[in-house]
């Protein structure tokens, strides 16, 4: 980035945190509603990146505009996965959906590898490599876009969960499943909707991730780890907490890189996640 003062990593970290929060929001929603850590979340985000890549490369449609295709596709995929695969798993035992999600993760990783080869890809639009300047310092536009998208999705999800009937039904089902059922809420269908919406958020995350970082079929697991760290720090299913936690992780990564060298920045994030788990198992902002 040129300059060596601490302002650059701080702003980069905050913007990166927006992207991390964006990736984590879907995971957080599924976790809050269904008590399921969706081990396939990272791979579903990467799948969205690849779909955007395909739309961008073959149809020459801008990836952000391409969201009109990507989001409905992921919504539908999410609903189907929940209805026909995970939902049935919930009926069997509590660990079944977790193992199934692991299976989905491996299927997606290898499917992506077969469809798009293990090569590293990126959504290289005309503006994703542009920079903006604050004083002498130079910042990538893609980071800013990802940060803004994170805020939009977070505010949107919050409004949806508190203002709309379906959102309130989802919140109710996550707070007390039995009570929600007694109020006439079809919790199985609600789970389907919740998972679908989480996948919609994953679609947005996939696009902005693809514009910010290069990705490979196996990138999913590192982003799952980051997303999980974000959810853990932010506390269960809290959208605002998730957003703040994303920024904490983003900052720790860029500041870690600034202080100890860029090679060890991801290690610092992982160690931070484990350390926070050890000290506060339910998250910094959680119960």
């Amino acid at each position: 980035m040129g300059s060596v003062d601490v302002f650059t990593p701080v702003l980069m970290g905050i913007m990166l945190g927006g992207l991390y929060a964006l990736i984590a929001l879907g995971l957080s929603l599924v976790f809050g509603v269904m008590r399921l850590i969706n081990l396939a979340h990272g791979d579903l985000v990467i799948l969205s990146s690849y779909i955007s890549y395909a739309i961008f490369t073959y149809l020459a449609v801008d990836p952000i505009l391409g969201l009109v295709i990507t989001i409905p596709f992921m919504l539908l995929l999410g609903f189907l996965i929940q209805k026909y695969i995970l939902g049935r798993g919930f009926a069997i035992s509590s660990e079944t959906p977790l193992i199934i999600a692991f299976g989905i993760s491996l299927v997606l990783q290898n499917l992506n590898q077969i469809l798009w080869t293990p090569l590293s890809r990126g959504l290289n639009t005309s503006y994703s490599h542009m920079s903006f300047f604050i004083g002498e310092r130079q910042f990538p536009v893609s980071y800013l876009l990802a940060f803004l998208a994170g805020i939009v999705v977070m505010v949107g999800l919050r409004a949806f969960l508190t203002r709309t009937y379906m959102g309130r039904a989802i919140t109710a089902a996550s707070q007390d499943k039995r009570a929600a059922q007694l109020m006439g809420i079809n919790t199985n269908r609600i789970y389907g909707y919740a998972f679908a919406i989480a996948m919609g958020a994953a679609a947005v995350a996939g696009v902005f991730l693809g514009m910010t970082f290069p990705f490979t079929p196996t990138s999913g697991i590192s982003f799952l780890t980051i997303a999980f760290g974000t959810v853990v720090i932010g506390g269960l299913g809290s959208m605002l907490g998730t957003f703040l936690a994303g920024i904490i992780l983003g900052l720790s990564q860029t500041l870690g890189g600034y202080l100890f060298g860029s090679a060890s920045q991801m290690l610092i994030v992982y160690v931070l996640v484990l350390a926070i788990l050890a000290i506060r198992p339910h998250g910094l902002l959680g119960r």
Binding site: L36, I92, E95, L98, T225, L274, L277, A278, P281
Partner: protein, 319 residues
């Protein structure tokens, strides 16, 4: 006493073990030994994963950490003059100590939290070994890995027997554990954690012991694997594909059954060699099988046999 009513089975098992042990001497084809070696390694690890996930309710996704650390301990040991066999045992101890060390963090997590907390561990270790070279060497650069030194005169047959010993030990260990106080305690916890705790069972301690035992045995199996491979490097070592293989072997055979991992590992090894030439499709198909089995027969092949009331299933039943 443990085997009192099962003498025919014991004799049969001993017979099978003898045949397996004699294969390298009687000149069995090299390819058989390769398959069987992999079967032994996977069986020992799958048994331990079954113990954790099936019996102790710990869905551990950090098994690559144990086998990798043990492999690294042994390999790095040979660079500073420690004989491989001390390194092998030392590797198992390193894995066990590491399990104890991370237990302070991951044991505060329950259920899904535990699963994903453990998933982070191998990822972090991969980073560590990508950046850190414990001892120098002619290979430089991050993540280059290490050759195992000083095993030039170690024959493949010995490594094969080591793998067989580890696999057999893991089977016997499972029997012993499940019939010991530890196993009974785990069964009580599994049935009802709260009532087990109120009957004076120290849940934390039992789960911790299980975690440490599983780590040690997984580490030993990993050490033998890297002895055979001859080198260790971070990317393939701390890799989620190990977890996938163990999970698949256990779930396919039958989670929470003693025979399950044996049957499941046979299927996994056969699949591995059948699908090897299809590259990426191999894990795709294995993933689909995993999902299918979880949905159609959560108790795996053993569960399927039991449901069909086959006489064979009656004979191999657990207790």
């Amino acid at each position: 006493m443990i085997f009192s009513k099962r003498e025919p089975l014991l004799i049969f098992a001993g017979f099978v073990a003898l045949i397996l042990a004699s294969l390298p001497v009687v000149g069995a084809p090299e390819s058989w030994l390769v398959y069987l070696f992999l079967f032994f390694i996977y069986l020992a690890m799958a048994n331990m994963w079954n113990l954790l996930a099936g019996y102790a309710g710990l869905i551990s996704l950090c098994q690559p950490a144990f086998l990798g650390l043990a492999g690294y301990a042994m390999t790095v040991g040979t660079w500073v003059g420690i004989p491989w066999w001390i390194g092998l045992i030392g590797g198992g101890i390193v894995a066990a100590v590491f399990a104890l060390a991370i237990s302070t963090a991951v044991f505060r997590l329950s259920g899904v939290y535990f699963a994903i907390g453990t998933l982070v561990v191998p990822e972090a270790l991969r980073m560590v070994f990508y950046l850190w070279r414990p001892v120098g060497g002619q290979m430089h650069g991050a993540g280059a890995g290490y050759m195992v030194k000083g095993i030039g005169d170690l024959s493949g047959d010995v490594i094969y027997w080591l793998a067989l010993v580890v696999a057999l030990s893991s089977v016997v260990l499972m029997r012993l554990i499940l019939r010991s106080e530890l196993g009974l305690g785990l069964a009580a916890i599994r049935d009802n954690e709260r009532s087990a705790a109120s009957s004076g069972i120290n849940i934390f301690k039992l789960k911790l012991y299980t975690f440490i035992i599983a780590a040690a045995v997984t580490g030993l199996a990993g050490g033998v694997f890297y002895l055979n491979q001859g080198y260790v490097e971070p990317t393939a070592t701390f890799n989620v594909k190990w977890t996938m293989t163990l999970l698949l072997a256990t779930v396919m055979g039958g989670l929470r059954t003693e025979e399950g991992p044996i049957l499941g590992t046979i299927v996994v090894v056969v699949l591995y060699f059948l699908l090897a030439r299809y590259g990426g499709y191999s894990f795709l198909i294995q993933g689909l099988i995993l999902i299918g089995i979880m949905l159609l027969s959560p108790q795996g092949i053993i569960g399927l046999l039991r449901r069909l009331h086959l006489p064979a299933a009656g004979r191999v039943r657990g207790f």
